[in-house]
Amino acid sequence: MLGAAATWTLPVFLEKTFFALDALAADAATQAVTGKDGTILVVLQMAGGNDGLNMVVPYADDAYHVARPRLRFTPDQVLKIDNHIALNPKLTGLKSLYDEGHAAIMQGVGYPNPNRSHFRSTEIWQTASDADRTVSDGWLGRYFDNCCAGADPTVGVAIGEETPQAFAAKKPTGVTFSRPEQFRFRSSGPANGPMSSEEMFFRQLNESGAGDESGNVASNTGGSIGAISGKTKNDLSTLDFLQRTALDAQLSSDKILAIARKYKSTVPYPQGQLAASLNIVARMIAGGLPTRVYYASQGGFDTHAGQIGTHQRLMGEFNDAVTAFVADLKQQGNFERVLLMTFSEFGRRVQENANGGTDHGAAAPMFVLGGGVKAGLFGKYPSLTDLDHGDLKFNTDFRSVYGTVLDRWLKAPSELVLGRKFPALGIV
């Protein structure tokens, strides 16, 4: 009963006739990409601090076995990449992708002066700032601001309820939804037939903030709102921000719903939230939504105690979801257009703790997958004995990965987005 309840939501059942976007909406829908041939980035966040050491395992290093008496994998358990490095036993699909030449593994990724707070370190990864600077715009938000002017709001799509800080922009762009079938306004009218008049009036009400570049909102009678700035949605007053979000929701929901109805995956996906999210991404790609960046996430990596069961379950979910997603993209013929990049706010401490878990660490690996990716191991595995407060030292700045993806995959000038040029990697 509770299982059913957990997935129950207010459903959508009104089959709607095609609604012609009005002139205003058509203007705003001028797209930066056609959605049919542009490259696509899928960002996958592993929230909570993924234990990189047990994902990409330095199985030949004695120090690993000494530091991890309870959590270690033995050489016969792991999926060997070379004589030193192997993948977690659950990552069979990732191993196949690697062997096929479609997976790049960046070792020892991090940033100078690593922060061990989940929230601060996540913020650093999401904003691509230096550790000693606080920036409110997200790195993808700056990409939208600088490189996607006039784009459709669906240029960025986050699967979930909450918009990631990486999307935070001067001019908020991008839409967030968890179930495409429910991503629409439901009027009280009859279940079938033409659009109800309630819905037509609803559309008028929720277009009031549309395209008003001056930032003035005619309907604001709430007094002098002033320059109130939220953490991630900078330059808009609260009401402006709500109105823009309402408009974005409305402009995108027709399209997203239409695609969701038309495109179903024939490749089977496993259970679980990440698989469901990637399935939605695959269907949106199949339907040609003009999106450059999709964002999905998997949580639960903060394994301070009793790590082994939890982490193996997460690794299994990750592997199975990504494997299904890749199979789906291949079947669609879109694998060459899509690049999937993983990240976590930090790795975990080399030495396991007394509770069968690991505490917050620093450097960790990143995966980049896709038909256009150059496979291989990049960077070098950090030393397990030359540590920074018990944590791995990074040798590749994560912004080198971002920069490479921006320059070579999205064909966007990375300096504009990241503020400076970081050394490029040979992953694309």
Binding site: A5, L10, S117, H118, F177, Q182, S188, A218
Partner: protein
């Protein structure tokens, strides 16, 4: 420096504002009653709740259990080779049923309880000392924490932090009950500083390690579900924490932290963000921090000063806060003069809107403000409003049929359909028959009742045109559609 609001500024709008922020809003009649009291008495009645207001009747199931025995039973069944999963599933089901009931219980307190500010402050502390059932896995412990937060909500902040450090749910959530002398666990120590007292940038990694040692020996008794202290697990050695050296214990660490200027700034800013505005100016944070210190971190007098201040009632503050999902649910129930949504529907709505009680997303709690709103949560609010107004008639026809038992193959769905049953609101209560023929009058009447941030003339005209398009006979269904239209606007999300 906070300045007092002059009595001349006390009116319907400021009374409504106080009711929204210090509580969960009110009907026009309730707001009028509060206005009539005058500013001083109105604030006093919110803040000076009787001491026994926190003596609430707990949910019927909320009593300690022998968790150890329960776990042993499952383990024994497993060892005997029996199907232990049946028992394990029963335990999980019970946990799910109880936390659902706890959410219902708290929403009911917010909506119908005698002390709305006490509940709102408890909600503030719940977000501050964020703890989730998803790790704690026991509704009694979540209730115990909720009760502790409520009893200490208006009291001394330092005492509250000490209470929370001994709270079983928190201890489990941040692994404090596993911390041993030989291996102090840093999870609680870090969040105590980063999120509960002084904020990031005001401590070192060394401070985390040293304070983790000071908090050793804290345990949860699994047979009584209560805190107990294990002296033999405690690290009695010398610790150096923020330039203080000695055999410091956990309470010493908390005293040191609360004495830091950064603590008053951190708590003051957070309090202001919750009750007043998203982005307080530095001078405002300084002012509220100064008042916290002046009152030795007693919360009640600080709250009284906030709700009496001209800053709290300024134009840029009133009607400019995005309602939290919990505020949305409770306030809307008041505005519609309808019962709260069925527990399972409320729980689902909390999840979809991004604030599920007793399950914050992480130890940082809810960011609030603009973070409540994405395209996803905004559309959900609009659609959930439809259910709140029109009831389960808007649910898919097949779900309705299942409720009638025709579809015996779907027992679960039938049960669910019964659980989300809801009648349409009685719109006749707000719109007298003699007004119905005047669209503009109907719109003004409903807008005054429903909106905390009044819509502009353009929206009002759109509402009126909608009624005119349906005229001349305005029936209840049309009026409910109008209410849904009003709630499906950016303005309705503000209070």
């Amino acid at each position: 420096m906070l300045t007092a609001l002059p009595d001349s500024k006390w009116n319907e709008a400021t009374a409504a504002h106080l009711t929204n922020r210090a509580g969960f809003g009110g009907t026009p009649a309730e707001i009028e009653a509060i206005r009539k009291k005058g500013l001083g008495a109105a604030v006093r009645d919110f803040v000076e709740v009787k001491n026994d207001a926190a003596d609430v009747t707990p949910p019927s199931w909320a009593h300690p259990r022998d968790i150890r025995a329960q776990r042993m039973e499952i383990k024994a069944a497993k060892d005997r080779g029996e199907n232990f999963q049946v028992k394990a599933r029963q335990v999980r089901m019970m946990e799910g049923e109880e936390i659902l009931d706890l959410r219902r219980w708290w929403v009911d307190r917010m909506l119908n309880g005698p002390a709305p500010l006490l509940e709102k402050m408890t909600l503030f502390w719940h977000g501050h000392f964020a703890t989730s059932i998803q790790k704690v896995h026991d509704a009694y412990w979540m209730w115990l924490q909720n009760d502790a937060l409520r009893r200490n909500a208006f009291g001394n902040f330092g005492a509250l932090v000490k209470k929370v450090s001994r709270d079983p749910a928190m201890m489990i959530y941040l692994d404090l009950q596993q911390s041993r002398q030989e291996h102090p666990n840093e999870n609680w120590a870090r969040e105590l500083m980063e999120l509960f007292t002084v904020g990031i940038g005001n401590y070192t990694e060394q401070d985390i390690r040293e304070s983790a040692r000071a908090f050793t020996g804290y345990r949860v008794d699994m047979t009584t579900q209560q805190f107990h202290f294990a002296p033999f697990q405690q690290d009695h050695g010398t610790k150096t924490f923020m330039n203080r050296t000695g055999n410091l214990n956990g309470d010493d660490i908390i005293d040191i932290l609360v004495s830091k200027p950064a603590c008053a700034q951190f708590i003051g800013r957070k309090l202001w963000r919750f009750f007043v505005e998203d982005d307080p100016r530095p001078e405002t944070v300084n002012a509220i921090a100064e008042r916290l210190r002046a009152h030795n971190f007693e919360m009640r007098p600080v709250l009284r000063e906030i709700f009496s201040s001209a800053e709290f009632y300024s134009d840029r503050v009133m009607g400019n806060q995005i309602k939290s999902p919990v505020q949305y649910i409770v306030q809307t129930s008041k505005l519609l003069d309808a019962p709260p949504p069925a527990p399972i529907a409320a729980q689902n709505a909390m999840r979809q809107m991004g604030q599920i009680l007793f399950a914050p997303p992480n130890v940082k709690g809810w960011d609030g403000g603009k973070e409540w709103i994405s395209t996803s949560t905004l559309l959900f609010r609009y659609n959930f409003a439809n259910y709140l107004i029109n009831g389960d008639a808007i649910l898919p026809p097949n779900l309705q049929q299942r409720r009638q038992g025709a579809d015996v193959g779907f027992g679960q769905a039938a049960q669910l359909a019964e659980q989300v049953r809801r009648d349409p609101i009685d719109i006749g209560k707000f719109v007298p028959a003699d007004v119905r023929s005047k669209p503009r009058a109907v719109v003004d009447l409903l807008a005054k009742r429903l909106f905390q941030a009044q819509p502009g003339e353009k929206e009002i005209e759109t509402f009126a045109k909608f009624l005119e398009s349906r005229g001349p006979d305005i029936n209840d269904a049309t009026l409910r559609e109008l209410v849904h239209l009003m709630m499906s606007t950016p303005q309705f999300q503000l209070a």
